[in-house]
Subunit: 228 residues, 2 copies
Amino acid sequence: MTQDAFSKTLITTASDQVFVDMRREIVEGSIAQGSKISEPELAKRYGVSRATLREALNRLESCYLIERKANVGCRVVALTAERLIEVYQVRSALEGLACRLAADNMAADEVQSLKQLLNQHLQTQRVKEGESYYQEAGDLDFHYRIIKASKNEHLIHLLSNGLYQLIRMYRVQMGMVGPRVSKAFDEHLAIINAIENHDGELAEMLMKRHINASQSNIQAKFERYKSI
Amino acid sequence: MTQDAFSKTLITTASDQVFVDMRREIVEGSIAQGSKISEPELAKRYGVSRATLREALNRLESCYLIERKANVGCRVVALTAERLIEVYQVRSALEGLACRLAADNMAADEVQSLKQLLNQHLQTQRVKEGESYYQEAGDLDFHYRIIKASKNEHLIHLLSNGLYQLIRMYRVQMGMVGPRVSKAFDEHLAIINAIENHDGELAEMLMKRHINASQSNIQAKFERYKSI
DNA sequence: TTCTTTAAGATTGTCGACAATTTATGGTTA
DNA sequence: TAACCATAAATTGTCGACAATCTTAAAGAA
């Protein structure tokens, strides 16, 4: 029994493994967006039976990475601009809530640990140079910690098992690196300060703006990407 | 192929039917909260194979009605006060968003139709007498229409396929009828007015308050229920 | 007695095969 | 040629059986 790095999913069964593997392939684009999924073909490829594969497919559907139609089959979700907006509207509302709850609940040492994390990011050369590390794993980590600090299990599940892989899919496949990195860092700093002051209202507002800015950024990239 | 009344789920396959049936039984309490689910037993009871049953179980897990542990099995979710708070915090954020979007998007004739629905509720004798009709189906219908009017498919799915059955489960099993009915009606009216004026900010705020009030109400009932 | 170990029983995970449905193919007709 | 229908092929839905794991209960040691 092992553990997945991104979603902290415990990998116990064969279908767990297939689920995590397929999820990575879909997020990274190895399995192309919008492509049809053939159960017999994929079962053979992963070396499992169709029953095991279907178990994994069910869970991929739960986190919105594939879509099923009865008696027809599965398709990998297609990344559209409209869908991106929808997802970010939801994300903004939910992470805003998470941030408010974090500001209410977070203990002093947790705040310190979070500040330390951000300092690490600052001092890492890669951040200054705007490399992908921060934007991907680092940013993810920051947001994840705040979500976790909300102490609302339902919310945590909704975000980390539901929305995040989908958001990663957009970001990874758009190749999200660029000038927003340093600006995002400042916004993170402001959010921490609000949390430290237990100012839930402000923390929520800052997080929402932060995510909206992130949305505008990725959306601009999206337009450029589509016009090519 | 038929259709389910509550979630508008299309029932095509055998597992669809089992899913809808089990969901109703869990929501209504026929299958007790916290109880262990035996796959062989339920498969026999519904007259399907275990594979079909497991398909349904997967989907029940997606809408948070049961919880699975690998190699151990499923349990019906247990209704705790903590969980109720968590769910309502999320609901408040999401329906607040839905209400804001509805205020932005809703066409004049849609607003009129919604007002008409509310008038029907008012004129129905049962409402005045505080019977369960309004609180259950009527209230649900009102909220559902606003959610739908948000035009955000992801949000719609999250609420109607995700949270709503769980919320119904609390309400049904607590027996939610009582003096809040008329007050809730007034709140609904205020929300519609805000939507009609396309005042998204106000509409969001009113909806959040409406849901928070509803939470307090059900929570009070919960305490009484638990102390017996 | 109480705790640990072990074996039996029961439950879940996985598999391959069959049935039902959809999709592709090819032939017919207007 | 285009539209329609019938047939064949492929895909999904469902089933029963076996393997792997957990749970329970009995037996033995401290």
